[in-house]
């Protein structure tokens, strides 16, 4: 099984055949040389057939599923771990605090423009203000902050960056720094 008429050795032919198994492209001359070698060398032809069929069987093998018990362990030590739940809980309250703070400021503004609004609308604004403030109070408790500190914190860390991102400049409050919750 030395070099055949086309000059390709058994080692070269099997190297080329492995490249075929790998799905690699090869030039026509090499492919023809390999095919001629396999056609004239029974040993290499048998090996090639065995390699091809072995590959077919390997490709058909199924996966071994991760047992449910192991998956439960993964969840309990990652997304469901107590430490991460606490972190998410705090984040949610910060989000709630930010939303409530924005609503609070907006509704305070609306409720004070009595001369331009109907009385009914003003009452709605006052009611909404009270509710937004209640949410802010709950959020502040959950964050273990006073209402004023919670307001400042979420304003500085959540609201201002969000406003800057969308290009909104917070108007300067009459009594100093913007949106510091002077009425709280």
């Amino acid at each position: 099984m030395g070099p055949t008429a086309n000059g390709m050795t058994c080692a070269d032919a099997m190297q080329r055949f492995n490249e075929v198994l790998d799905g690699e492209l090869m030039d026509a001359t090499q492919r023809t040389g390999m095919e001629r070698h396999l056609a004239s060398c029974a040993g290499c032809a048998e090996k090639a057939t065995q390699l091809r069929e072995m590959q077919d069987v390997l490709r058909g093998l199924a996966e071994a599923p991760l047992p449910d018990e192991a998956l439960k362990n993964v969840w309990s030590r990652t997304v469901e771990s107590p430490a991460d739940n606490v972190r998410r809980f705090r984040f949610n309250w910060r989000f709630a605090a930010a939303a409530a703070a924005v609503l609070f400021v907006a509704w305070v503004g609306l409720s004070k423009v009595a001369d331009e609004r109907a009385e009914a609308e003003r009452m709605v604004a006052i009611k909404a203000t009270e509710e937004a403030r209640m949410v802010l109070q709950l959020a502040a408790n959950a964050m273990k902050r006073t209402e004023r500190v919670a307001f400042k914190e979420v304003f500085t860390e959540e609201i201002s960056p969000a406003l800057r991102k969308v290009g909104v400049k917070w108007p300067q409050a009459r009594n100093g720094a913007a949106g510091q919750g002077a009425d709280l």
Binding site: L21, Q50, L51, M54, L61, P65, P67, V74, V79
Partner: protein, 177 residues
């Protein structure tokens, strides 16, 4: 990687990670430990691993954890604690193949795979069973592409030879069936 992305990645790759560990370690308990550990480490590194880079990261981590397990086995074996290296007992564990179908052919492939070195098994499983691209395998095993291909060709030939010698091969089955 966001939390919901992590959950998707785990759901998508948990079986692949476990199958890989099972084929390399050939021990259900160790394979489960390695798979769990790899998935948990991904969570711990989620801020630095993007969702689209999770598969190669998991593959590499699982491979390294499997190698660590094998090294520990060797150490245990050397100190003579009675726990033989499982490599010497290739029939241990069901293996992914047996779980899928317990035909003679698959059983013989399972046994033949068990006789290969962990390195040979790694390239066979990653390429032939899991159909992973070369660059991903090369990154996982930390070898150049050329080395990887040479190793794959050698591993294929070794596996073919083992199968041929067992007498239970696809070709023998075809002849008897």
């Amino acid at each position: 990687m966001q939390e919901n992305e992590y959950e998707s990645v785990v759901t998508m790759y948990k079986d692949r990670v476990h199958s890989y560990a099972m084929t390399i370690l050939r021990n259900p308990t160790e394979a489960q430990d390695a798979a769990q550990e790899a998935l948990i480490r991904l969570w711990e590194h989620r801020t630095s691993v993007p969702a689209d880079g999770a598969r190669p990261w998991l593959l590499r981590t699982t491979h390294n954890l499997c190698i660590d397990h094998i090294r520990r086995r060797k150490v245990r074996s050397e100190v003579g604690d009675g726990d033989d290296w499982v490599e010497t007992r290739p029939d241990e564990g069901p293996g992914p193949q047996k779980l899928a179908e317990s035909s003679d052919l698959r059983h013989s492939i399972d046994r033949a795979l068990a006789t290969l070195s962990p390195e040979d098994r790694a390239v066979i499983v990653m390429r032939e069973v899991q159909h992973l691209p070369y660059d991903e395998i090369a990154a996982a095993l930390d070898v150049p592409l050329g080395t990887l291909k040479a190793r794959l060709h050698r591993a294929r030939e070794r596996l073919r030879t083992k199968l041929f010698r067992t007498g239970v091969t696809p070709w023998a089955r075809q002849q008897t069936g």
